[in-house]
C-alpha cells in the first residue's frame, strides 16, 4: 500500500513511473547495477563451450524469486553505454538455485550477433548485470506419465533444467532426444551423469538428418508426453508427429512461428513526415529494418518491448495473440505486429 502510494506520488509529482525509477541514479552510487524494474545479478563465471556456446553463471540478488524449470529470463547487459536485452532459458534447475544461489545460462553465440557476439567480453568487464523475473509456461506437466524431451540445437537448455529438477521426483521413464550438428551436442557429461544416476532416464544424441525415423526412438505404446524446444521448422515436424500419434505436446519457441500468410496486401505506414509501403506477409520490425528506419530490435518474439512504438492510428494484428488492435493510439510491439490497414506510427 505504502509502495503503491509512493509510486503514485512519483508518477504525479516526480515525473517518474515509480519511486525506484526516481532514486535509481542515487542507488547506483552504492550499487552500480541497481535498476528500477530489474534484478541485479553478480557474474560468477563466463566460460566458452564448444561450437560457440557460452556458459554463464549468475548469482541473482536476494530479491529474485526462483524459477520453474523450463522458464526463461531477460538478460540485460550494458555494452558501450547501451543497455542490450535478450531472452534466454535457464539451463539450471530451481533445486540448484536453492542449494547454491546460482543460475546458469547456456547461450549460443554468433560473432556477428549484436548481443551474443559481444556478450563474453561485456560480462568479463562488468561484475554485475540485470535480469528479469522468470517467465514462461514451458514447464513440466505430469510426473505420472512417461516423457520424451526433444531438443533441437540450443533448445537443449530448458531440457537440462527440467531433467535436473524432475528426474528425482518421478519414476516414470524420461527420455531425451537431442538433435544437433554432428559433435555439436552440449553438456554430454552432465547427461551421462544423469543417465548413470537415474535408471529411468536415457538419452540419444542425434543429428538433424536422423529426424525422419522418429518412431524408432519413441515408444508409442507408452503414450508419452512430448516436450519440444528448437527452431520453428523443427518443432513443427515434432508437433505434427505428436498430433498424428495423439500424444500430449508442449513446446517452447525460439522464434515467432508466423502463420502462413498468403495475403500480400500492401499498406502505407506514415512515420513522422515520411510514408513507407509495407506488406502484410512479414512483421513490421523486419520490414522497417530492411528500410533502415530507426527501430530497436530486442528479443524479436514479443517479450522485451524494446521495439515498442506508438501507433497513432490504424489496425495491426498481434501475431502472438492473433488479436487485432483497435484503431486509435496505443503502444505496439513491432516484432509481433502485422499490418492490417494503413498505419500512422511514431518511432
Amino acid at each position: 500500500m505504502f509502495i503503491k502510494a509512493l509510486n503514485q506520488f512519483s508518477k504525479l509529482f516526480l515525473h517518474h513511473q515509480s519511486f525506484a525509477a526516481y532514486i535509481e541514479p542515487i542507488m547506483q552510487v552504492f550499487k552500480p547495477a541497481w535498476r528500477a524494474g530489474f534484478f541485479s545479478a553478480k557474474v560468477i563465471a563466463v566460460s566458452p563451450c564448444s561450437h560457440d556456446f557460452l556458459s554463464v553463471t549468475l548469482k541473482p540478488s536476494k530479491q529474485w524469486r526462483s524459477h520453474i524449470a523450463g522458464q526463461h529470463i531477460s538478460l540485460t547487459v550494458e555494452v558501450n553505454g547501451r543497455l542490450l536485452t535478450r531472452v534466454f532459458t535457464l539451463a539450471s534447475s530451481p533445486d540448484y538455485f536453492k542449494a547454491t544461489g546460482l543460475v546458469r545460462l547456456l547461450i549460443k553465440t554468433s560473432s556477428l550477433g549484436q548481443f551474443t557476439g559481444q556478450l563474453q567480453q561485456a560480462l568479463s568487464l562488468q561484475p554485475r548485470c540485470n535480469i528479469s523475473p522468470a517467465r514462461g509456461d514451458f514447464v513440466f506437466k505430469s510426473w505420472h506419465k512417461p516423457s520424451v524431451f526433444v531438443a533441437g540445437g540450443s533448445g537443449i537448455t530448458p531440457m537440462l533444467a527440467m531433467l535436473e529438477q524432475q528426474l528425482g521426483n518421478t519414476n516414470s521413464p524420461m527420455q531425451l532426444l537431442y538433435f544437433a550438428k554432428a559433435d555439436a551436442h552440449q553438456c554430454t557429461n552432465e547427461l551421462t551423469a544423469l543417465a548413470k544416476r537415474f535408471a529411468h532416464f536415457s538419452y540419444s544424441l542425434l543429428t538433424r538428418d536422423a529426424l525422419t525415423p522418429l518412431t524408432q526412438h519413441i515408444n508409442l505404446d507408452a503414450q508419452p508426453d512430448i516436450y519440444c524446444c528448437g527452431p520453428s521448422g523443427f518443432m513443427q515436424q515434432i508437433a505434427d508427429f505428436a498430433k498424428q500419434h495423439k500424444l500430449g505436446y508442449f513446446q517452447e519457441s525460439f522464434g515467432l512461428a508466423l502463420p502462413n500468410l498468403t495475403d500480400d496486401s500492401q499498406f502505407s505506414v506514415k512515420i513522422n513526415k515520411d510514408t513507407h509501403v509495407v506488406t502484410s506477409n512479414d512483421v513490421l520490425l523486419s520490414q522497417f529494418e530492411a528500410k533502415k528506419l530507426p527501430v530497436q530490435r530486442g528479443c524479436g518474439i514479443g517479450i522485451c518491448h524494446q521495439c515498442q512504438c506508438i501507433k497513432k492510428s490504424g489496425v495491426v494484428r498481434n501475431l502472438k495473440t492473433n488479436q487485432l488492435s483497435d484503431t486509435g493510439e496505443q503502444l505496439i510491439q513491432l516484432c509481433v505486429s502485422q499490418a492490417v490497414s494503413d498505419l500512422e506510427l511514431q518511432l
Partner: protein, 350 residues
C-alpha cells in the same frame, strides 16, 4: 547564397556528424547519468535545506540555490536533450525521449511535438517557426509594427519571469487551442481537447507540488518552503529564458521566408540552421547549465547528437562554415545578451 557550395557544406557537416556519432558510447552514457545523479542530489538536498531555514537562514538560501540548480539541470541538460532523443540509443527507460517528463509546467509530449518538429524543422522561417518571438515580441521587420510592440521590453521581462508558463502555453499553440486562431495549411496532430487536458493536468501538478504539497509536508515551515520553491522556479525561469533568447534572438541571427526554403537541399538546411542560431562562449560549467544550448549552432545542425559532444565538434563546425564564408555567430554571455536586449528594443518601434 549563390557563392556557397551547399553540397560541400553538407558533405563536411555530415562527415562531422557521422564521425562523431560513430564514437558515441560509454563516455556519453556515463556523462548523462552523472548529470542526472547530480540533479537528484541537488533536488533532494535543496528541498531538505529549505526546511532548515529556521535554524540558519543561510541554509534556506543554499536550499533555494540548490533547488533552482536542480530545476535548471533537469530542464536544460537532461530534459531538453533527452526529449530530443539524444540518449535514446542507450535503451535506458529513464532517459527515453518517448517517456521522459520534466520538472516544468510545460507538458513534455506537447513540447516534443512543437519544439522538435516545428521549431527545429522550420527554424526562423517567418510564419512557420512559432518560436521566433513567441508570438509576443516583434524581432524583425518581417512583422508589422503594432502599438503593443512599444512596451514589448516589459512584455519580455514578464515572459522571462513566467517563462515556464509562457513555454507551456506556447508549446501547445495556445492561441489555436484556447482562442481558436487558425492558420491555413496547418493541421494539428493532436486534438485540442487532448492538448488542453495536458496543459491543465501538468500545470496543476506543478502548482500543487511546489505550492501546496511540499509546503504542507513541511508543517510549520510552510512559508519557508513555499517561498523557497517560488524563488527556485524564478531562478530557473530567468536562466532558461535568457539562454534561449541568446540562442536565437541576437542581432546577428537571420530570418528566412517560406518560399526561399521550398525544396531546400541538406546543405541549404544546414545553412539556415547555422544562421538562425547563435552561440555563447563560456566555461564548461556554464555550458552544462545551459544544457549545451550555448552551442545552439551545433545543436540546430545536429539536434539528436548527445549534447556532451557539441563542445568537441564546435571548432570543426566553425571551420566548415568559414570555408563557405558563412558567419559563425558566437560571443561572450554579456555580449550576446546585450545584443538580444538591443534587438528587442530596436523592433519595439517602427
Amino acid at each position: 547564397m549563390t557563392t556557397i557550395n551547399y553540397q560541400q557544406l553538407a558533405d563536411d557537416l555530415d562527415e562531422i556528424k557521422m564521425s562523431t556519432l560513430a564514437t558515441v558510447g560509454q563516455k556519453d552514457a556515463n556523462y548523462i547519468r552523472s548529470i542526472v545523479r547530480k540533479q537528484r542530489f541537488c533536488e533532494i538536498g535543496g528541498r531538505i535545506l529549505l526546511m532548515l531555514g529556521f535554524v540558519q537562514p543561510l541554509l534556506w538560501v543554499a536550499g533555494v540555490l540548490l533547488l533552482g540548480l536542480a530545476k535548471i539541470l533537469d530542464n536544460m541538460e537532461i530534459g531538453h536533450n533527452v526529449m530530443h532523443g539524444q540518449y535514446d540509443w542507450m535503451n535506458d527507460k529513464q532517459l527515453n525521449s518517448k517517456t521522459y517528463e520534466w520538472d516544468i509546467a510545460c507538458d513534455g509530449q506537447s513540447w516534443n511535438r512543437v519544439h522538435n518538429f516545428e521549431h527545429h524543422t522550420y527554424t526562423n522561417i517567418i510564419g512557420k517557426d512559432r518560436d521566433f518571438g513567441y508570438g509576443l515580441l516583434r524581432l524583425s521587420n518581417d512583422f508589422k509594427w503594432r502599438l503593443k510592440n512599444t512596451w514589448q521590453f516589459i512584455t519580455y521581462l514578464n515572459l522571462s519571469v513566467l517563462f515556464q508558463w509562457g513555454v507551456s502555453y506556447h508549446e501547445l499553440a495556445g492561441e489555436r487551442v484556447f482562442i481558436g486562431k487558425k492558420k491555413p495549411n496547418r493541421e494539428g496532430a493532436v486534438a485540442h481537447s487532448t492538448l488542453k487536458k495536458r496543459f491543465f493536468s501538468k500545470g496543476a501538478r506543478q502548482l500543487i507540488k511546489d505550492y501546496v504539497l511540499f509546503p504542507v509536508l513541511a508543517g510549520p515551515l510552510f512559508l519557508w518552503v513555499l517561498s523557497g520553491n517560488l524563488l527556485a522556479n524564478l531562478i530557473r525561469n530567468l536562466w532558461t529564458s535568457t539562454i534561449i533568447f541568446c540562442g536565437h534572438f541576437t542581432e546577428q541571427t537571420h530570418t528566412f521566408y517560406e518560399q526561399d526554403c521550398k525544396n531546400e537541399s541538406q546543405g541549404q538546411w544546414y545553412y539556415r540552421q547555422a544562421l538562425g542560431s547563435s552561440n555563447i562562449k563560456g566555461a564548461r560549467w556554464f555550458h552544462i547549465l545551459t544544457g549545451h544550448l550555448s552551442f545552439q549552432i551545433e545543436h540546430h545542425l545536429f539536434p539528436d547528437m548527445p549534447s556532451s559532444r557539441y563542445q568537441e565538434i564546435a571548432p570543426k563546425v566553425q571551420a566548415a562554415l568559414q570555408k563557405q564564408g558563412i558567419a559563425y555567430n558566437t560571443g561572450g554571455f554579456f555580449q550576446q545578451y546585450t545584443s538580444v536586449l538591443k534587438r528587442i528594443l530596436r523592433y519595439s518601434f517602427k
